[in-house]
Amino acid sequence: MTVTLQGVGLTHANGQVALSDIDLTINAAERIAIIGPSGAGKTTLLRLLATSLQPSTGSISLLEQQPWALSASQRQRLRARIGLIHQAPPLPPRQRVVTAILAGKLGAWSLLKSLLNLFYPVDITGAQAALARLDLADKLFERCDQLSGGQLQRAGIARVLYQGPQLILADEPVSAMDPVLAGHTLSVLNNEAAARGVTLLASLHAVDLAMAHFPRVIGVRAGRIMFDLPSDQISPEQLDTLYANEKLQPTPEVITPPPLVVQIPRC
């Protein structure tokens, strides 16, 4: 069992309950989609699995380890085996794509190799191969701020492909792409997972994509799991209940990071 969650809940610092009573078991090499209305807790669930958030209650086990019982350095080693694809990939605007991709392996590399990589990319072919799978090979030496939203998302996926983790978590990985590209990108992720026997969890707001690409689908609403079924056993009624009061199909969110105001004191 790759992932086990028992009675996991998360309450934010402001008292808002994001997730409660989550029980979940995921076996190795499973491919799962997480669907649900916006604000349901899909991102929070993925961040919990990425050890990017610590649960308030319950116990979590990832890749046969208890992340919050480990020492900080052991946890970093566990984290290197988990890849999280962000909806808005946090890549520094001035960084080149090749550096951003190769940064995926920082957890595995020695300090010396990582430092060397800042001056000359140590694995150009590896980065190129990861980008080529997402049809982005020509952007290898561009800067990240020259990519469009969809290209940036693909660069973020390429970084995780290059990282080569045993558990891939994807938070709305295709939200900024057109339907054809979204389908293609999800196939790439699924092929990677199937070929390497990797566990894949992706949250999606497009139900049809979830049904078409993933054998198992989890429906999340208001911080709880509504259903957890093989994708061919989900009835339209269950989907209607999941998205009740959400008749307006939410338009894909435009990813614009908040403008950063840098104030430097002088003298």
Partner: protein
């Protein structure tokens, strides 16, 4: 007349703030004994005039230019060596004082654990101590310890500027987007590398600009410290002033202008390279 409903609601508070500023400033002007009248007093104007008239023409005989070149190089060397030493201390202190690299903040939505906050205070305290004593005071101290000459200036700049640079670097690290570094930390990257790959690309332009500006300040500071015997252009200006050689002072002030201009251009060039 404007209708009352259309009046800017911010007008009254702004007027009140302006009045308040004047009321607060007035005692300050009184306390500092500022009296612009003395500038226009006939006697004083004449004294200043004769002092300034000695500035023209700037001295340019070859012997003096040789001394000037040497003093300029010495000033640049003091500023550069002082900055280099200051960076050695400022970068590690900036990293320690900044919360940008906290592992505990990465999984707590940016909030630090209490022990992580507590650890930062000694470093912040050290930086405060380093920068709170002006470099001239350090220079006076070191002139007594290591004797007259540039060494005292280098040490004084290194100490004061490491405090300033460390503080501002820490603030720059915290002011850039924290998400790239946090994402790297959560992907298992060591902290130093999360800094190099996540923070540095966003922070480098600001850091560079501030460092070059500080280097320019160090050039100026080394001149001031020359007056207390720490070598460089300042010591020459002091000597020339004592000998009432206005022309020499003028030449040195012009050199000084050139140095600041040079620092400005250097900053512009480096920033353009980074863009």
């Amino acid at each position: 007349m404007l209708k009352p409903a259309l009046r800017d609601p911010a007008a009254l508070p702004r007027l009140a703030l302006a009045l308040l500023a004047i009321i607060i400033l007035w005692p300050g002007i009184k306390l500092s004994e500022l009296d612009l009248g003395v500038l226009f007093d006939a006697e004083n104007s004449k004294t200043m005039g004769s002092f300034l008239s000695g500035f023209w023409p700037p001295a340019h005989d070859s012997e003096f230019l040789h001394i000037l070149l040497r003093a300029t190089l010495e000033t640049l060397a003091i500023a550069t060596a002082g900055m280099a030493l200051a960076l050695l201390l400022a970068i590690p202190c900036g990293l320690l004082a900044s919360r940008a690299l906290s592992l505990s903040a990465a999984h707590r939505n940016g909030r630090l654990a209490w022990w992580s906050l507590a650890l930062r205070w000694p470093v912040r305290g050290l930086l405060i101590v380093l920068r709170s004593v002006p470099e001239v005071v350090w220079a006076l101290l070191f002139v007594r310890a290591v004797g007259l000459g540039p060494t005292a200036g280098v040490l004084a700049i290194a100490i004061t500027y490491s405090g300033m640079l460390g503080k501002v670097y820490a603030e720059i690290f915290e002011s850039v987007d924290p998400r790239p570094a946090r994402a790297l930390l959560v992907a298992g990257s060591p902290r130093l590398m999360a800094f190099a790959y996540g923070v540095l690309p966003n922070a480098s332009a600001e850091m560079l600009s501030y460092t070059v500006y500080r280097w320019e300040c160090a050039v100026r500071a080394s001149v001031v410290m020359g007056f207390v015997g720490a070598g460089g252009l300042g010591q020459q200006i002091d000597l020339s002033l004592r000998m009432f050689a206005g022309g020499e002072v003028a030449s040195m002030l012009l050199t000084f202008l050139l140095l600041v201009l040079l620092a400005d251009q250097l900053s512009r060039l480096l920033r353009a390279r980074l863009q």
